[in-house]
């Protein structure tokens, strides 16, 4: 084993692995930089104060702004989060803390995994059948609930995985002090995992913020500043889709700006939530 040839080969192999991993890392970073840089380069050109404050005019040569879409996406994400995050978290808590002997655990986990992989257009069709057809018109609720439906399995599985990482000794210590199981979960287990659960939730929010397909058949989109989700509802992604697929260069530029703003929104939201959720009491 210790022959010079073997040593040379194994050294060469280890060098190769090192060089390759560095090379791939740089490639990925370059690609990411390219995408963001390109979007920023084109998007910034058509980004103006009007983009944030004005409504679409309908005139392809003087398109106005996307104020309605920004508000619409914010409201859609807020509703989707308000519905999806609690249900997802509670499912995750159930899976990790309560389902030990339950026949439900495996099916629920399996369904979550399958749902997390379902193409979002399928969720859109489902929302259309269940919430649009019975009401007779496209509406924001259907869009928000379709987004919530996408969030639930992601949040549930991340919550479960993160709670599993909380040391058993926390639970034992709390139970030994006379706490009930619910109290232990609420006061010790979930706070201990809060940082990583928030990260998981942010991933889910980022995912649905960028979804267009589920909104095509549900919220539809609107040119007006809509505040009532029971009407057709505007969203950034849908508006980007409409503008980008149209023939007008002015609108295409608006779409680029919209993409840039969307990325910036997700990035900011992510960063703020992380800062807020950063626990003061992190185990060393």
């Amino acid at each position: 084993m210790g022959t010079p040839l073997y040593n040379t080969l194994s050294r060469a192999r280890s060098h190769t692995a090192f060089v390759l991993s560095i090379a791939f890392t740089i490639t990925i970073l370059l690609l990411l930089g390219l995408v963001i840089g390109y979007i920023a380069f084109i998007g910034l050109k058509s980004l103006s104060l009007d983009f944030f404050t004005k409504l679409p005019t309908g005139d392809p040569h003087n398109p106005g702004g996307m104020f309605n879409a920004l508000v619409g996406t914010t409201i859609l994400i807020a509703i989707a989060g308000a519905v999806g995050i609690p249900i997802g978290m509670l499912t995750g808590i159930y899976l990790c803390e309560y389902s030990a002997n339950s026949f439900l655990a495996t099916p629920v986990r399996f369904v979550c995994d399958v749902l997390a992989g379902v193409p979002s257009i399928v969720v859109g069709i489902l929302g259309y059948e269940l919430l649009v057809v019975p009401l007779g018109h496209y509406n924001g609720w259907a869009g928000a609930l379709a987004l919530a439906f996408i969030m639930i399995p992601i949040v549930a599985r991340t919550t479960e995985e993160m709670l599993r990482l909380v040391p058993q000794s926390y639970r034992e210590a709390s139970i030994a002090l006379g706490a009930t199981k619910a109290w232990t979960i609420l006061k010790v287990v979930v706070p201990a995992a809060s940082g990583s659960i928030v990260t998981g939730i942010m991933l889910a929010v980022a995912r649905v913020a960028g979804e267009t397909a589920p909104l095509l058949f549900t919220a539809l989109g609107s040119r007006y500043l809509e505040k009532d989700p029971s009407h057709p509802f505007p969203s950034l992604t849908k508006q980007i889709y409409d503008y980008a697929t149209g023939p007008y260069p002015e609108l295409k530029r608006q779409a680029w700006a919209g993409i840039l703003v969307l990325i910036a929104m997700i990035f900011t939201l992510n960063l703020t939530m992380r800062l807020v959720a950063r626990s003061k009491h992190v185990a060393s």
């Binding site: 926390y170 139970i175 006061k187 201990a192 009491h281 060393s284």
Partner: protein, 347 residues
């Protein structure tokens, strides 16, 4: 109360693959266990770092008389055959008030794995009782049975009885929450919650919904003083508990346990993850807490058992072998196995 060799007929258990160390197998069967002893049951108190107590240090080796040589031979044979064995309980135990009475207690982790075989043990109120024995002998399992922490493990099945302060711990109508509040527990690894030092200490009060700031502050200070930690943390009560050193964290856990004003403190190898100085502080603390609380401490460190405890229980493969005053158990054990273990010949 039991005689020095109580007879109890526990049903025969299915044999488990033998794990008896060679040293025990080779240990001669009972020759002549000692009965001569010092009636004062004051614990042997030594400073950390002092060499282990040599068994020969007894003033004069009393003549070794066997009270019942045949019984001991049978016990040794039974253990080697993986059968339940009778506990050799020293008569001094009978003079104490038994706060916790364990009788014929058996615990199974599942249908085939029996962890405890017919334990009979009376825990003396206000005293420090140490449980020693080789790894896997069931010390921790027995300790965790006392506050029903084993309930958290699936498939645990229990037989026999455990009576705490006149109340059956495993009775159907027992309030487990209330029971656990009366038994504080300190774990092998310090496990402060991800909260401030203050919130860690008053955790038990928060469970009860205590909101009065004055009460919380008072309990916090009293508990931290009780755990000899107050002076070190009084200026940073609202800082994270994770900023403390390992030894401080363990004392914080003790403070957290005594904040609920329990009757019993269960300690599961509280010093096994600590350096000698931190260990010394915890031992001093245990010494100060004796009398106020009934302390049951599981330890792998026999010198520690000798230093801090009034009574010592020697356990071996799920049986309580010998149980008596610490100095007697260490200096004049009745059983050959005990002597072999405390002198470091096996285990």
């Amino acid at each position: 109360m039991e005689n020095s060799t109580s007879i109890d007929q526990t049903p025969r258990m299915p044999p488990i693959p033998p794990a008896a160390p060679e040293a025990l197998r080779r240990a001669p069967l009972a020759q002549a266990p000692a009965t001569g002893h010092d009636p004062s049951s004051a614990p042997v108190r030594a400073q950390p770092g002092m060499p282990p107590l040599p068994p020969q240090a007894a003033t004069s080796q009393p003549p070794r008389l066997s009270p019942d040589q045949r019984a001991e031979n049978e016990r040794t044979a039974a253990v080697l055959k993986e059968l339940p064995a009778n506990t050799c309980t020293h008569p001094e135990i009978a003079n104490e008030f038994a706060l916790l009475q364990v009788s014929n207690f058996r615990l199974y982790y599942n249908r085939t794995a029996q962890a405890l075989h017919g334990i009979n043990m009376d825990i003396a109120r206000g005293k420090v009782t140490a449980m020693i024995g080789p790894s896997g002998c069931g010390k921790s399992t027995l300790l965790r049975s006392m506050n029903r922490l084993n309930d958290l493990i699936d498939g645990v099945h229990i037989e026999g009885s455990m009576v705490f302060d006149g109340q059956d711990v495993y009775a159907r109508n027992v309030d487990v929450i209330e029971l656990r509040k009366r038994m504080g527990m300190v774990f092998q690894r310090s496990n402060p919650f991800p909260m401030s030092i203050f919130e860690n200490v008053v955790y038990a009060l928060r469970i009860d919904g205590e909101k009065n700031k004055a009460v919380l502050n008072e309990v916090c200070e009293r508990s931290l003083r009780g755990a000899a930690l107050w002076d070190e943390v009084k200026d940073r009560l609202h800082a994270s508990a994770f900023g403390l050193s390992g030894g401080q964290q363990q004392r914080l856990c003790i403070a957290r346990a005594i904040a609920a004003d329990p009757q019993v403190l269960l300690m599961d190898e509280p010093c096994s993850a600590l350096d000698p100085i931190a260990t010394g502080k915890i031992e001093d603390l245990i010494y100060e807490l004796r009398g106020k609380y009934t302390i049951i401490i599981v330890t792998h460190n026999m010198q520690q058992a000798a230093r801090v405890s009034d009574y010592t229980a020697f356990m071996y493969i799920g049986r309580l072998m010998e149980y008596g005053p610490t100095n007697k158990l260490f200096l004049n054990p009745l059983l050959k196995q005990t002597e072999a273990y405390v002198t470091g010949r096996f285990g």
